[in-house]
Amino acid sequence: MFAYYLQLGLRSLKRNPVLTALMVMAIAFGVAASMITWSVFRVVAGNPIPWKSSQLYNVQVDNRGPQYDNPPNEPPEALNYTDAAALMRAHKAPRQTLFYDIAPAVLPTRPNDLPSTANGYATNADFFSMFDVPFKYGSPWTSAEDDSHAAVAVIGNELNEKLFGGANSVGRDVTLDMHTYRIIGVTERWDPKPRYYDVYDGMQFSDDLPQVYIVFNRAIDLHVRMSGRNNCGGAPMHIDNDEQWLHRECAWIPFWVELPTRAAAQTYQEFLIAYSAEQQRAGRFGWAPNVRLRNVTEWLAYEKVVPSESRISLFVSIGFFVICLVNTIGLLLAKFMRRSSEIGVRRALGATRREVYAQFLMEAGTVGLAGGVLGLLLTIVGMQGVGLLFEPDVAQLAQVDLSLLATTLVVAVVATVVAAFYPTWRAAQVQPAWQLKSS
């Protein structure tokens, strides 16, 4: 029966070509618009590290006081050196990391190449294990190198290609801003989107992948320049010496901890409050403790990482699709009711309502399938144009993959069948006697 109805459905597509073409096009446009915007949205709103997002926490400590809080009552989004170093020393979480953005000039290994700039981080050993950085060669450094302020570096796959032609470069040297570091590991291409851990520096959708990682303690010793964001709020900027520079109440060091359970997070939160209270007693903070501990999901939501453009365009596209479906309901109604006499004859010949349902839903399904196939083509074409609609940073995230193509077809067919419920119900209500009489 299924095959027969399918055949009937396909045949009826040909029967009212204009009406059918209208429906197919409406569904195709609607589903394509929704899928294109969805493909962008699913990446920008995605969870970049689902297996761990509830165990990684961003730490905030108010080091400037409520009068500078922006938004009100919210501590700065990163720590200053004093607090970051104190929390590292306290070591109250199983793993903790701190970092700041660097962009050193990399000297070429071959004589004729030009120097280039590479982005990266001055950080500690836990960074790699907390954020699950994949390694191609070698391994991350350990806390021993952190403690000895070692001149070691981890480089990214892309920089390794550029400097060493992709060969295993572990043990070789790399020169960053005229300082030499021994390469201890090479990462695979590592690009979680959004780059949750470095939203503070606005890197959430950056396509400049981190290519160099050096030991935080050594970077501080060498005064390796920070290339990221430094928010001093209302704090005075002038300093007389380097020690003051480090301890200015400016926010520039994102700090993350890994806490395996909710209870551990609770304990850590209490530790942060106790730490702030201690700073208050010591006279450094003239205000009550104000700290935040947000996991990855909460942090991304707080930082409003999803651009409002992708949200609005997704909503508009869904609205667009709904209109297309309303349109389809109307046209299906016309298409089905036009065949009232045919239905009358079938019913008179013994077809049950159920069979009428099956036949017409099947027919709608074929319309949906045709719309889906056309929508698939439009989606693929449209994805090429995504670069026009979104910033390149965001646009290049949108990829055509099998799951997107499958979703397009399924959504088209399911939505059309759902839209067909009412017209089908009307078709099944046709009274056979009425139709036969009027003929």
Partner: protein
């Protein structure tokens, strides 16, 4: 035209009527919000930067090697001299940021040293005596910096800027009476004041995010060359018609000065037109998307009206024949279908207006979009009514051509 019989007939095909009405309502709601978004974005895109953007380009220069601060200062001086000596170059300056750049330094502006909350926020452009000339921004009052007022040092060694130039919008905001010249304000956090020695014509801020719209024309020029950042940005004004030549010559002239520098392949050298396109790419993207959605939506709605009305005409051929036989003219039949569509359209517009306002209100609270103005509703409503009438015309004409003889035939 009598409306009562039309309403009576509508009751016989409620579903179709409601579907078309609903479709018109949804289309209205989305199209007028989309038009409004387009308008908002285009207004944003067309706001002036104050900069004479033609013939201007930007070189971002990363330093290689650990130059000391005095070395960097000397190199920048030499670079600027080399740039200004090029035949294709009119003037050049070094800055930390510039209008439309997106990143840079903004600072609280205060009127008193002990003031905690800011009076306003403003871009701080580290400038020299060539900055106004290079940007093509005129002074509306006061004087420019003199060469010996320019300090070259890292920001953390800066204690005060005795003199500053402010944009005229900032001047007006701080001193509504128009007496900003010579006044003292606080543009750093160091408790030292700066005297306003000049007021520039319109000058846009570097800040491009929506949260900074209120500060879009606040700019303070401070006489400083920032060292210790590892990079410098040169803004270069080419002589008229020689932009291409200047963009070719300038990097070569800099490399001839010293090879220890990097111009990133992607954005090391950019025309100001490219800067502008990059600054507003989100806005253009939104406007294009909303435009496409509106056009396709209107087309689909029109097609839907054509489809359903054709069906109704087909369904009612006999009734039309009866009316024609009883003396109704072709014009009567035509106007019947036109009026019917008009009534459905009006119903849809009433519902659609409520929906549109609802959607807008939601966007106002969630995305900081402005309130929808009535004129958008009016334009979209009229457009939809006209579209509906246009769409219904062909099937209605076919209905009008149904011959009275039809009534005598059985189907």
């Amino acid at each position: 035209m009598q409306i009562k019989p039309i309403l009576a007939a509508m009751r016989r095909h409620k579903a179709g009527t409601i579907l078309i009405g609903f479709q018109i309502a949804l289309t209205l709601a989305i199209v007028c919000n989309a038009l409004f978004i387009i308008h908002e974005r285009m207004t944003r895109v067309s706001r002036p930067s104050g900069v004479n953007e033609k013939n201007l380009f930007v070189i971002t220069n990363d330093w290689v090697g650990n130059l000391s601060d005095p070395q960097t200062a000397a190199q920048i001086r030499a670079d600027l001299d080399a740039l200004r000596q090029l035949g294709s170059v009119e003037d050049a300056t070094a800055m930390n940021s510039f209008p439309l750049h997106g990143s840079g330094w903004d600072n609280y502006i205060r009127m008193k040293p002990d003031q905690i909350h800011m009076t306003t926020d403003s871009s701080i452009y580290m400038s020299d005596d060539h900055t106004l000339d290079t940007l093509g921004v005129k002074l509306v009052a006061g004087r420019n910096f003199t060469p010996n007022e320019i300090q070259a040092l890292p920001i953390q060694q800066m204690t005060s800027w005795p003199v500053i130039i402010v944009s005229k919008d900032l001047a007006k905001l701080l001193f509504p009476k128009g007496d900003a010249l010579g006044k003292q304000i606080y543009v750093t956090n160091n408790y030292t004041s700066s005297t306003i020695i000049g007021i520039s014509d319109t000058l846009q801020s570097h800040m491009m995010d929506n949260d900074s719209n209120a500060y879009a024309y606040n700019a303070v020029l401070v006489p400083m060359r920032e060292l210790g950042t590892g990079y410098v940005q040169y803004l270069v004004r080419a002589r008229p018609g020689q932009l291409e030549a200047a963009m070719r010559d300038a990097p070569k002239a800099l490399v001839a000065q010293s090879r220890m520098r990097i111009f990133e392949a992607r954005d090391g050298v950019m025309t100001f037109a490219q800067v502008r396109a990059k600054a507003y790419e989100r806005d253009y993207g939104m406007a294009i998307l909303m435009g496409i959605v509106s056009v396709v939506l209107l087309a689909i709605t029109a097609a839907g009206i054509v489809g359903l009305t054709s069906f109704w005409v087909g369904q009612r051929r006999r009734q039309i024949g009866v009316r024609r036989a009883l003396g109704a003219t072709q014009r009567d039949i035509l106007s019947y279908f036109m009026t019917e569509n008009m009534l459905i359209g009006l119903g849809g517009i009433v519902v659609g207006t409520l929906l549109a306002l609802g959607i807008n209100l939601w966007m106002v609270t969630h995305y900081g979009v402005a309130h929808l103005s009535g004129s958008y509703l009016l334009v979209a409503a009229i457009a939809l009514l006209v579209l509906g009438q246009g769409a219904v015309f062909a099937p209605a004409l076919r209905a009008a051509r149904v011959p009275p003889i039809e009534v005598t035939r059985t189907v």
